[in-house]
Symmetry: D2
Subunit: 344 residues, 4 copies
């Protein structure tokens, strides 16, 4: 079968690989019908996240179950399914607390040996371990493009809003309007946050956020801190979501959040950095961090996608065949796309 | 000044009363510009809730502050304001836990000596104690009809959904589509619940619920239990809200809720009744009850009314002058109205 | 092997049964070294809970793993383990929300076909499905008598206190001082509840509760409602735990709980009954019900048993060999014992 | 009357001051019978926190109400009371969310114009605004030394544990065993945390922590990270409390906390600093910060002090008369005392 593999920084290619085989009794094999390219894939593409040359990449997927082990009960051969970006054991200390994203035995698709040696999903087929936790049936009427978001990007937006611990009527600022930020905007609006401010520098992304019901704020041409003050009567937002993963974004999130509010750093941090702990402390902020617990959220996200309460289609800017994956990565790398969907 | 007073079961009249005077330093006097007739008023009208003949009734109000004590800081003379249905002390055991609806010194407008001897708001003016907690400025652009809901009916719908402890994407059934039930439907939808089922016997109310985004279910012409099963894959809804206050509604709420789900009895109960505790127990349900904590919710509700996320205008079926209050009560009693707004 | 089996109301006997065999890959076989007789066993003994004649009973156990399927990772052959009273799948809707006690595929040991046809643990050996969730290693230094409580009775006391949603310094009343009630007392005290009132009619049980740090209150010789009032300044306790499962206990729990407080019905209800919903409603109580989520609590309970923060040894009144199980049931039925431990 | 006043860095003196007079209707005047010297006072003493020369310092106090405004209802003249370290308005956005420590109108005793120009309590008398929120009656049998802790240091320990969001049986590490750290240790143990590790470099403090039920760990002579690993099976503690307020402490807290756990920075931060956000993020930690919400906790803390569940007496190392306050500050500055109580 064909598979998109990492070769070297800036270089991916389409390789021929053997078809996957069932190993454990809760494994499934999925014939991939759509796979997304994600910001995390770009970290690999840039060589910042190290994986073995030749490893198949990709972790967002929709497809059809073509084989399933005896213990797979939630889906069956022939089912159209979507996958979460990682597996979970369901029985460790962390799974027992429903923090599946920190499972002691989790494996992430397409991230090499460091994250469990699980081949990626930008391929004709994929082996899916712990299928009862990782796969869900796609509800009737939900397209591939939409379902693709449930197990990764929209699940991450949902997670960010969940961690913000807001109630309907609370105010939220989202910093950074890549796919995750835009999904967070949509979940916040759908969950009754009001107002939702969306901050970025790219006019098109601000327009999408506005169409989703947010108040768009240009990071540099406008004054986000001043605008937050005006809109919140000088108080600051109840929660700010940093969907960038950069100390400057974190700092702005800290500054625009009200006393005793919450900052959610859903953007990726990998290094030590300067944080104005004095300001955090005097404001008595709470800070939440980390990957998204998509397995914990996927059923709710799917329901909202099915009802139309969430609709990520405006984020899908490109469709490409698997053959053209190398070019698609180049396009994505030039920031010309929000979400590229690869189809066979 | 003029005031609508209770006289006897089935009899209210417009009386002349002296204008209220400031007594405590956190009192305000509000010139009433709109006051609603509520289901609770009907309990008084029917004589089921006993109050003294001659007592001024009404507890929903919008108006303008015409006098304020020295300690009133959140609003000032000239402000257009809305009120909550009750006062709170802000310092007792219950206020310290933000359960203002159970304040040890709470007084409810227009409910006679039993609830604090606080004259009602269906009048030209009203004395408002604990004004810092009870009053809020009406945001720009919010009409009287809309603002009127913040401190009572929509606040109660918000409370019901809050107690349901749901997250975006969870399913909800609302039983009983009077004003509170319809407000609960609207809050649930605005808060991302999906699906929201709305159950009643009155076609017009089912239509309003459908327009608010709910799935309407006729209580007797359809089979609510069967429909809930079909929609939830046999499981039941995550939460059911009983906005009726009758053992049959509670029983249905218990039956349509999934294992480990939540039943919220926001409808009023005043008597002992039969509850299928065996069913409650084997399903491990949680049950939440009681009046709404509107003071705890009013800022969020107001924000959502201002943004249009909540819009109760379809519930306002009648506008009447204070003079015609007796006739308005008769109309309301004949169930010909959802919400009647009295204006000077 | 030998197994205690239900025969008819009031009749259990020691039978010879074939040794269990591994079937699923996450099964384990445990050689039983201690098994408790529980109030639930008495319901079977009385014929109120129907099971098939000849079915092996018992669901509390400590022992040694003598065989384990390939997917069993949390324990291994030779490990000294304790079990939870039921199994769980780890992947259904309810397990995904950490409500393992409502798992769609749960099976309860020793409760016949109605609860999953899983033979009981009052036997020489037991088959333990979903061993990764159901079994835990017994920590060093924890005796059989103590470990036995983690997966059932103490887990249930822990659950009751957890559902009470109290914080250190909150007041609690426990109604009914059987093993579950006494365990709830101990967990409440260990968790910082203060004061903890313990209500029953049996002097010895009141003494045990007092030794655990509670204020003992005789149900009929004293006036529990009056005493609660005096101790709480007239307000009522923050939470009351009904460990009886009788409408009178529920009614008393409702009456002694403060406004906006919580009533936990951990005692078993199987029938409809009269509940003073008017009182519940005007006090705005929350009610929590159902079986205990012991799989969700067992690690914490075990830690507290290991540290001595919890110590159920005063509850163990009898040790008996498996041969004498029929007599032990008769003793338990005569209410002459709190906890009887059966050993081989 | 006499009052301890700040003069210059390293210099406090006993001055004569006019007795305070009631101004607002919810003011009270308290004759001070005991006042503590706190770590915050030391910041003033060192000149790091700037206040006006001549300002009366101190914010922990027990005494007797000698005058009260008409609106003071929770205490009355003649009552023996304790105070919280700050006032609150009870009606602002933050008070309405029970976050009294971030009240928009809060004033802190003895901290100069920057925190509300409220004279301190190391004096013969003190003016206490918002007395209904700030004062509590001292329960029978609670000594001055014990009551003194409720409104500041023990309230802060309680807050730290509350923010840690732990349940009975969860593990906790407390870093820094000054008075706040030791109080946090005591609250954690009293609330059922197990195990509680207590980390510091001072042997006497480690001994006190051990006497409170914690596992003492010497910061430099032992290896805290290694010990946490061993005790938690390699996983890390569920929550770590940084009671130091230094980047090194925060870093250690981050390192010893398990994935998806909580770090509480109760120690004071005033500056930007380096935080290993990469580590925080990959572990998906939550961080909680800020002053303690003692008004929100004081009733529970008082109850636990009255029952003996909490007992801070081992922390009181010195008693001194008001006259000797200058020497007492010098002693405290030399770290020769844990808690010094000033009496008239």
């Amino acid at each position: 079968m064909r598979a998109v593999t990492y070769q070297a920084p800036g270089e991916v290619q389409l390789d021929e690989r053997p078809e996957p085989q069932l190993a454990a009794r809760d494994d499934a094999i999925v014939r991939i019908e759509a796979s997304g390219i994600c910001g995390s894939d770009l970290h690999i593409y840039h060589g910042r996240v190290k994986i073995e040359p030749g490893f198949t990449i990709g972790h967002e997927f929709v497809g059809t179950v073509i084989a399933a082990g005896d213990d797979v009960t939630r889906v069956k051969t022939g089912d159209r399914v979507l996958g979460c970006y990682h597996t979970a054991c369901g029985t460790c200390f962390f799974c027992l607390r429903c923090t599946y994203h920190k499972c002691d035995r989790m494996r992430t698709f397409g991230h090499g040996a460091a994250l469990g040696s699980l081949q990626g999903t930008q391929a004709d087929q994929a082996l899916v371990p712990s299928a009862n936790l990782t796969l869900r049936k796609v509800p009737e009427g939900v397209s591939d493009d939409v379902a693709l978001f449930a197990g990764d990007v929209m699940g991450t937006g949902y997670h960010a809003v969940q961690e913000a611990a807001i109630r309907p009527g609370d105010s939220v600022a989202v910093l950074g309007l890549g796919p995750v930020g835009l999904c967070a905007v949509q979940v916040a609006v759908a969950g009754g946050a009001s107002p939702v401010l969306a901050i970025d520098t790219v006019p098109q992304r601000l327009e999408v956020a506005a169409a989703f019901g947010a108040i768009p704020v240009h990071l540099t041409e406008q004054n986000p801190r001043q605008i937050v003050k005006e809109i919140t009567g000088g108080r600051g937002v109840d929660a700010a979501i940093d969907a960038v993963g950069h100390p400057d974004a974190l700092d702005l999130a800290i500054r625009v959040t009200r006393k005793a509010g919450t900052v959610v750093a859903i953007g990726v941090y990998a290094e030590p950095c300067q944080v104005h702990m004095g300001l955090v402390w005097i404001k008595a902020l709470g800070i939440r961090t980390g990957h998204a617990n998509v397995i914990g959220h996927v059923d709710r996200v799917l329901g909202m996608l099915a009802s139309g309460a969430l609709d990520p289609r405006p984020l899908v800017t490109h469709h490409t065949s698997l053959e053209d994956a190398p070019e698609a990565y180049a396009v994505y790398d030039r920031r010309e796309a929000l979400k590229i969907v690869l189809t066979p």
